[in-house]
Symmetry: C2
Subunit: 317 residues, 2 copies
């Protein structure tokens, strides 16, 4: 099998890589994302892809994973809460520029594919990947295949309503799982409790500026041993776990792979209470003996590798 | 294709039918369910099946849909909140008694198959069936196939947690969709409001006995025009709709088929507010142009027909 190119389009960087038949990244190239300028984003995607094409002469197809709602059937990036693009026919634009077939999908979908093929999900027929970062993304691998749904918009588990009327989400709704159980939710809960007079250590770590308290900072304080920060992370972990229970009740998977920056940064401080809350909210829990919740294995490479794996379906046989 | 037998095991009756290649029920037989006696339930299932076998000589396989958690790979009825059976190897027991191959599945799964093949879901590749009765059942038809998950326990959408810490569910958890948006929830909300002094008309319809106010009675009052009852039904409809939005965000289906007694008994009084709440809670709503929420078409026959359709996979080619 000839190599394919994977491009991971995120809010801070656009990363490309050439990936071989064993999932190894042969060559890498990345540039920062100009999140407010859709033309600049497209130009950067084209540049990164061309650089990869030039670096390894025999790449046969391109996959793009974008942090956005993506209609993968049509290859159109529809909308993203954190990036300026809207209704962008990326597949057509990029394919014309690089003269290779292109597939475009959601970043969480490509990460799920990468983990299923080369990461923590190897060998599991039914698995759900959940990416806990600033928000919550997810990808569904059901009966061994990426599930996309009717418009290619399936697997938006981060926007399942978990607390009707709850905290405002970046999508505009209230009480989405992402709004109450993501890295952003960790920061928000810490700020609320600090306004109530707790968490002097975390406030000091933020230089006394309550607005500077992010989920990342709270996660670091938790890892360093702050009881206040650990309590905040555990509380969000429980809400994360209720969403995981929903995943189990809905999909009956054998595996849930948890990735993303907030999960990687807090590890078991987040995952242990999540697993406990999950178990308490599963119907027929005693019968679902095979289900496991495991950390993602591929880290930041999941986007590039997964996009390149998806591109293989476009490669000449 | 030779006929197959479908058996629908519910809380009040066990209904059997012989179903032909066009989905027509050629013969029917049913008996009441003795919900508290597992041996009697099995004996009734055997009797109903034998009666159907005898009535139409050439039936080649038997499907059973049971109101329970069912491990369909193993043919074992695991557990049900409203029926006495537990860890019952129904496939083995029944197959031995009737000398035909048997498949056992969850009642909501078989109803979903029936609607997908012969009912409201004909032609839709991705569809979710939701049965709103005393509780909420569901079945998933994804990429044209019934999705069961790792242990055959997928599609328990009724037990997705929608209101953490909310009303007690029959499963023992709190705040399941079924606990807050089913026929039982309609009755509970009406009783709460009547205790607060409202709904004199509905209380009178129940002979002044607040404990006699069921979801069914409230539904009938709503259909008869009671503004109090209509308001209760609409409120539960909105919670139903938030769960439907979760289904859309998760599966991106083209169709949600809503069946069950509570839905049939209230019609658009429940479904119209449900659709409205659903639309308000979908991420990327403008892009999901194909999604529709429609009433089930097969009514009480869905269980028998769907179980018989599942049994076809056991028929000799």
């Amino acid at each position: 099998m000839q190599p394919t190119i994977g491009v991971d389009v995120g809010g801070t960087k656009i990363a490309g890589g050439v990936v071989d038949a064993e999932g190894k990244i042969l060559h890498r190239h990345q540039v920062p994302t100009d999140a407010n300028d859709p033309d600049a984003i497209v130009a950067s995607i084209v540049d990164v892809t061309k650089e990869c094409v030039a670096a390894v002469g025999d790449a046969v197809a391109v996959g793009v994973g974008a942090a956005a709602l993506v209609d993968s059937d049509e290859g159109v990036v529809l909308w993203a809460p954190n990036l300026a693009y809207k209704d962008l026919p990326l597949r057509a634009l990029l394919s014309k520029q690089v003269s290779l077939p292109v597939i475009v999908d959601n970043d969480a979908n490509v990460a799920a594919v990468a983990e299923a093929v080369y990461g923590a999900g190897r060998g599991a027929k039914h698995q759900v990947m959940v990416t806990v970062g600033t928000g919550i993304g997810s990808g569904l691998v059901l009966d061994g295949h990426l599930y996309r749904g009717r418009h290619g918009l399936g697997g938006e588990l981060g926007h399942m309503i978990l607390v009707p009327g709850g905290d405002l989400c970046a999508c505009g709704n209230h009480g989405c799982w992402e709004a109450v159980a993501s890295g952003r939710a960790i920061g928000r809960l810490a700020r609320q409790r600090i306004e109530g007079g707790a968490g002097a250590d975390v406030l000091a770590a933020a230089g006394g500026d309550i607005e500077a308290i992010t989920g990342e900072l709270v996660g670091e304080a938790a890892v360093s041993g702050s009881p206040f920060a650990r309590d905040v992370v555990a509380e969000i972990g429980r809400l994360l776990g209720i969403g995981l229970a929903n995943i189990v009740n809905i999909f009956d998977p054998e595996l849930i792979v948890v990735g993303g920056g907030a999960a990687a940064g807090t590890g078991e401080l987040l995952l242990a209470p999540a697993r406990e809350a999950m178990k308490a909210h599963i119907v027929g829990e005693a019968y679902r003996t095979a289900v496991r919740v495991v950390p993602a294995a591929l880290g930041n490479d999941a986007g590039v590798v997964g996009a390149a794996v998806l591109a293989r379906e476009l490669a000449p046989a």
